[in-house]
C-alpha cells in the first residue's frame, strides 16, 4: 500500500456550497468547530441566498460557507479556496471564481446530471469546460448521493431524509482530507442532534463512511495537516458568530453595571440573531421586546433607559434610518442607549444578505439638528463582544447614545473566541446623580466632563422632567433663548468629544516610516492586515491604521496620520470614512480604495492595489 502524501500547510481555505436545502451552513460550522477544537485558528464567512428557499438547484438558491483555518493567526475567511465542495452545478457556477489555482474541487457526480445542469443555466454537458475551469484544478467527482444512500441502506429512513444526509458524507471526506479528529466531530453532532437520536445515528454513520471512503480509496490528492496555532493564547475557546458575541457583550455589561438589560428590536436581516440570542436569556432576566417596528424598538429602549435599564436596540440599515428621529431624542434627553446597526447592502432594501460598510455617514449624521452621538465599529466576530461591551460602558458613563456598527460579514461569520470572565472586564460606573445632590433637574451635569447625572425613576427626591425640547442650561426648563441654545449645542458636542480621553489611542501596525499608510475601519481589518503583512514580508513599505472608534476619533489620530505622506483609505462603500477624515483633518493626502459589491475585500485585490500605489 503506497503511502499517502501529507502536505503540511500553514493555513487552508475550504468552501462548501450547495443548494439552500443541502445543509452547507451546518457542514461549514462543523468543519470550523473541529478545526478550532484542535487548536487551529479559524475564520468563517457564510454567504446566504436572498430567498428563504429559491427553487432547488437554481443559482438564486445557492448557499455557501467558507472556512479559513490556520496554524497562526487567521484574520479573514480567506480570499480563495484550496478545497471547494460543490454539491450541485449552481453552486459550482456561482463560486468557481473563488477557487485557487491548483485547488481541489470535490463535487457530487450524482447531482451533475443534465437536468441539474439546465437548472443552473449550463448549455453543454461539461460545466467545467463551459466555465473555463483552469486545468491546474484537481477535480474529484464523487457519487455523494449514491454513496450516502448505500451508507444508510437498511436504516429505515425515507428517501428525503437520506438525501439530507449527503452533506455528512462530504463532511467526513473533508475531515479525512484535513486529518480532523472524528471523535470531536461526533461530539459536535451529538450536541446538535441531542433530541433526534435517529438523525444523529444516521449522520454519524454517513460521516464516518465519508471519512473512510477517503481513507480507503486513496484519492489521488494530498491530505493536509495544519499545526495547532501558536499565536493562540492557551485557554478555553469556542467558535462563535459576531451577532452572538454582540449580544453577549450587552449581557456582560449589564451585569457588570448592576443593571437590567432591555432590548427593544424588530427582526431584520442580518441583525435578527442579536435579538434572538438575547430572547433566549430570560434566565438572566434580559427583557427583550420584539416590537411592532424599528421606531417602537428604539422608543421602548429609550423608555427603558429613562426607567433605569441598560437599554439597547438592534437593527440594520433601513431600520437605522427609521430610528433617526428617536436617536435625536436620546441625544437631547441625554440618556444612555446602545444602537447596534448590522450593516448590509443598500440603499433601500438593497441586498439584505450581503455585506457593506455604507451606513457610516448615516450613523454619524442621519439626524436633524446638531445631534452628536458616539459612533464605533467592531472588526471581527470575536471582538464584537468587546465593542458591544464598550458601547454599553461608554453609553452609561457618558449618558449618550452610542451607535455600534457591525456588518453581515462579521455578524454571521464566526471566529475563535477566548472565553472571558466577567471579573476581568473593565468596571462600568453609570453616571448616577450623587445621593446628596440638591435641586436636581433634567440638565444637572458633572461640569468637568459635561456628563448629565442620571436619576432613576422610583428614587425619591429626584423627580424631574426630561424631554426633546431645548432646555435651559441651568434650570432644565424649556428654553428658546439664543445664547443658551448655543451653549447647550456646544455642551452636548463637548460631552461626546470628551469620550476620546477614555478610548485607546490609534496604533500603527507595521512600519512607522512606511511610504504608505493603509487606513480602514470596522470589519475590513482582517483583509487589510493580510494584505499589509504580505507586502511587508517583501518590502517594509506599508503600515496600517485601523479604526474602531469613529466619533470621537482617538485623540492622537491627527498626529499619527500627519506622519504619512500617502494614505489610502480602504472601505466597502464609496468613500465615507475618507470623506469623514478629510472633513476632520484637513491637509492629508488621502487616496481611496472602495468596493461596493456586497462582498468583503480580498487580500489579493488589496495587495495589488497597494503595490500599484507604491509604484507610482
Amino acid at each position: 500500500m503506497e503511502k499517502i502524501k501529507v502536505k503540511e500547510v500553514d493555513n487552508v481555505v475550504v468552501l462548501f456550497a450547495g443548494d439552500s436545502g443541502d445543509g452547507m451552513q451546518l457542514t461549514g460550522t462543523l468543519f470550523s468547530n473541529v478545526s478550532a477544537v484542535i487548536g487551529n485558528e479559524i475564520s468563517t464567512f457564510p454567504d446566504y441566498p436572498a430567498e428563504i428557499r429559491a427553487p432547488q438547484g437554481t443559482l438564486g438558491g445557492v448557499s455557501g460557507f467558507q472556512v479559513h483555518i490556520g496554524s497562526s493567526k487567521v484574520y479573514t475567511p480567506g480570499d480563495l479556496a484550496d478545497v471547494f465542495v460543490a454539491m450541485n452545478p449552481a453552486a459550482l457556477k456561482t463560486n468557481i471564481h473563488k477557487v485557487k489555482k491548483g485547488g481541489v474541487i470535490i463535487y457530487d457526480e450524482d447531482s451533475f446530471l443534465e437536468n441539474d445542469l439546465t437548472k443552473a443555466g449550463f448549455t453543454t454537458d461539461n460545466p467545467f469546460v463551459e466555465l473555463g475551469v483552469s486545468e491546474t484544478i484537481n477535480l474529484i467527482p464523487t457519487q455523494l448521493t449514491t454513496l450516502t444512500q448505500k451508507s444508510l441502506e437498511g436504516f429505515g429512513l425515507d428517501g428525503k431524509s437520506i438525501l439530507r444526509s449527503k452533506n455528512m458524507f462530504a463532511f467526513g471526506l473533508v475531515c479525512w482530507l484535513f486529518n480532523r479528529p472524528m471523535d470531536k466531530a461526533e461530539h459536535f453532532l451529538e450536541n446538535k442532534f441531542k433530541k433526534k437520536p435517529s438523525v444523529l445515528e444516521a449522520n454519524i454513520k454517513v460521516m464516518n463512511d465519508g471519512y473512510n471512503y477517503g481513507n480507503n480509496l486513496h484519492l489521488s490528492i494530498p491530505t493536509y495537516t495544519i499545526e495547532r496555532s501558536s499565536d493562540t493564547k492557551p485557554g478555553k475557546y469556542t467558535s462563535i458568530s459576531g451577532n452572538t458575541t454582540t449580544a453577549f457583550g450587552l449581557i456582560a455589561a449589564a451585569e457588570k453595571a448592576g443593571l437590567e438589560l432591555f432590548l427593544g428590536s424588530y427582526p431584520i436581516t442580518p441583525a435578527s440573531d442579536i435579538m434572538q440570542v438575547l430572547a433566549r436569556r430570560r434566565d438572566l432576566g434580559v427583557k427583550v421586546m420584539q416590537c411592532e417596528d424599528e421606531i417602537a424598538g428604539i422608543a421602548t429602549a429609550i423608555g427603558a433607559s429613562f426607567a433605569g435599564c441598560l437599554a439597547a436596540t438592534s437593527t440594520s440599515g433601513p431600520g437605522l434610518a427609521l430610528k433617526s428621529e428617536a436617536i435625536g431624542l436620546a441625544v437631547m434627553s441625554e440618556l444612555p442607549l446602545v444602537v447596534i446597526d448590522v450593516m448590509r447592502g443598500g440603499p433601500s432594501t438593497g441586498m439584505p444578505t450581503k455585506t457593506e460598510q455604507t451606513d457610516l455617514l448615516q450613523a454619524l449624521y442621519g439626524r436633524n439638528g446638531e445631534s452628536p452621538a458616539v459612533v464605533m465599529a467592531a472588526s471581527t466576530p470575536d471582538d464584537c463582544f468587546h465593542y458591544s461591551y464598550m458601547a454599553a460602558k461608554i453609553a452609561l458613563e457618558n449618558m449618550t447614545p452610542v451607535i455600534l456598527l457591525t456588518d453581515s460579514f462579521i455578524a454571521n461569520g464566526t471566529s475563535l473566541w477566548k472565553l472571558p470572565k466577567l471579573a476581568d472586564m473593565p468596571e462600568i460606573k453609570p453616571n448616577y446623580v450623587p445621593a446628596d445632590y440638591k435641586n436636581y433637574n433634567a440638565v444637572s451635569r458633572n461640569e468637568e466632563t459635561k456628563v448629565r447625572y442620571w436619576a432613576i425613576p422610583g428614587t425619591e427626591g429626584f423627580e424631574y422632567r426630561n424631554g426633546g425640547l431645548e432646555k435651559d442650561y441651568v434650570k432644565g426648563s424649556i428654553s428658546t433663548a439664543a445664547v443658551n441654545h448655543q451653549k447647550m449645542v456646544d455642551t452636548r458636542a463637548e460631552k461626546v468629544q470628551n469620550v476620546k480621553y477614555s478610548i485607546p489611542e490609534l496604533e500603527i501596525i507595521g512600519n512607522e516610516d512606511a511610504d504608505l499608510l493603509v487606513v480602514g475601519w470596522g470589519s475590513t481589518r482582517g483583509h487589510l492586515m493580510d494584505a499589509v503583512s504580505s507586502i511587508n514580508e517583501k518590502s517594509k513599505n506599508v503600515a496600517l491604521a485601523h479604526f474602531n472608534y469613529i466619533n470621537p476619533l482617538p485623540k492622537n489620530t491627527e498626529e499619527v496620520l500627519r506622519k504619512f505622506k500617502n494614505i489610502v483609505v480602504c472601505e466597502l462603500n464609496s468613500g465615507q470614512f475618507a470623506a469623514y477624515l478629510r472633513s476632520k483633518i484637513p491637509g492629508l493626502n488621502i487616496m481611496q480604495y472602495n468596493k461596493v459589491q456586497g462582498q468583503p475585500f480580498t487580500a489579493i485585490e488589496l495587495e495589488e492595489q497597494f503595490e500599484l500605489i507604491l509604484k507610482k
Binding site: K184, T238, A252, G264, R281, R282, M289, T300, R465, I478
Partner: protein
Amino acid sequence: METKILTYTAKDFKSDQQVRWCPGCGDYAIVNSLQKVMADLGVPPHKTAVISGIGCSSRLPYYMKTYGFHTIHGRGAAIATGVKAANPDLTVWQITGDGDCLAIGGNHFIHSVRRNIDINVLLFNNQIYGLTKGQYSPTTLKGKVTNSSPYGTIEEPFRPAELTMGARGTFFGRLLDVDLKNAQQVMLEAAKHKGTSVVECLVNCVIFNDGAHGYLAERNTRPDRTVFLEHGKPMIYGVNRDKGLILENGRLKAVTIGENGITEADILVHNAEDPNPTLHWELAMMQGPDLPIALGVIRAVRAETYNDALDKQIEEVKAKSKIKCFDDLVDNLEQWEI
C-alpha cells in the same frame, strides 16, 4: 399604636412650572383632575412616571411633580411601554392628543392596547391639532373646515372606542373636561385597572376647534344628553334620572321610566367586564339626539398584562435554568481548551 399612612394632596403632584395653555383650554381641567386622582390613588410622586408625545396636551408632564418625559411626536405609547416593561414598579401614565395618539402614533397605540401593557392612557381628544395651529386630526368630523381642509375634510374619523376595541382593548373610558367629578372617577378606575386603560378625554380647544364638544358641554342639557356608565349599575340618566337604556331587537333604545310600562328593573345594567365587546361597542357609539352619549367606564375586562406575563416568564425560565450569570452563560457554551 399608630401606623403612619402616606397621604397626598393634589399639591404634591404639582410642579412649579407655569401652565402654558391658552386661557380656557380644556386641558387645564384634566391636569387638575389628574393631580387629584394621583393624590387619591396614593402612589407617591417618585413612583409615578408621566410620559407624553408632542402636542399642546403633551406638555402636561411639565406640570407634574413626578418623573416625567416629554418625548417625540407619536411615540409616547412605545416609550411608556418601555418604561413599564423595564420598571413595573412605576405607575405609568401616557398623555397624548388625538393627533399624537391616532395619527402618527396610531401603530404604537394599537400595539400597546393589544399587548395590554399596564399603562393609563389619557387621550386628549379635541378633534384638532392644537400645537401646530389647527389642522384636522384623525378624529375631526367629516366635512369640517380647518386650516388644512379649507373645503372640508373628506375622511371619516376614527372613533377611539372602536379602534381600542378593534385592537382588543381591555379598558375604555370616556370623560368630559368640564365634568370634573365624573372625570376623576373615570381616571381613578383607569389607574386601578391592570392593563392598557384608554381614557378618551373630550377637551375643548378654544382657539382652533371651539365648541367641538358643545353638544355635551352645557351644564343644563348634559344630564339629558349623556349617560354616565358604571359597572353593575343600571344605565339611567336624565335631569330627573328617569331615562334609561334597554335592548330592543339587539339594539339599544332610550326609554323613559314610567312611560309605556317601563320600570327601573327593565333598564340594562352595565356590565363593563363582559369580554365580548359588541354591547360595549354599541354603547360607545351612541349618538344624540335619540341616544345619550356614553361617559364613564364603558369597558373594563380582566386579562393578563404584558408586563406581568414578561415577569412571569422570566421567573419561570430563571427557576429552570442553571445559567444564573454571565460566567455561567459562557461556561455553558460548547468549548475546548487550547
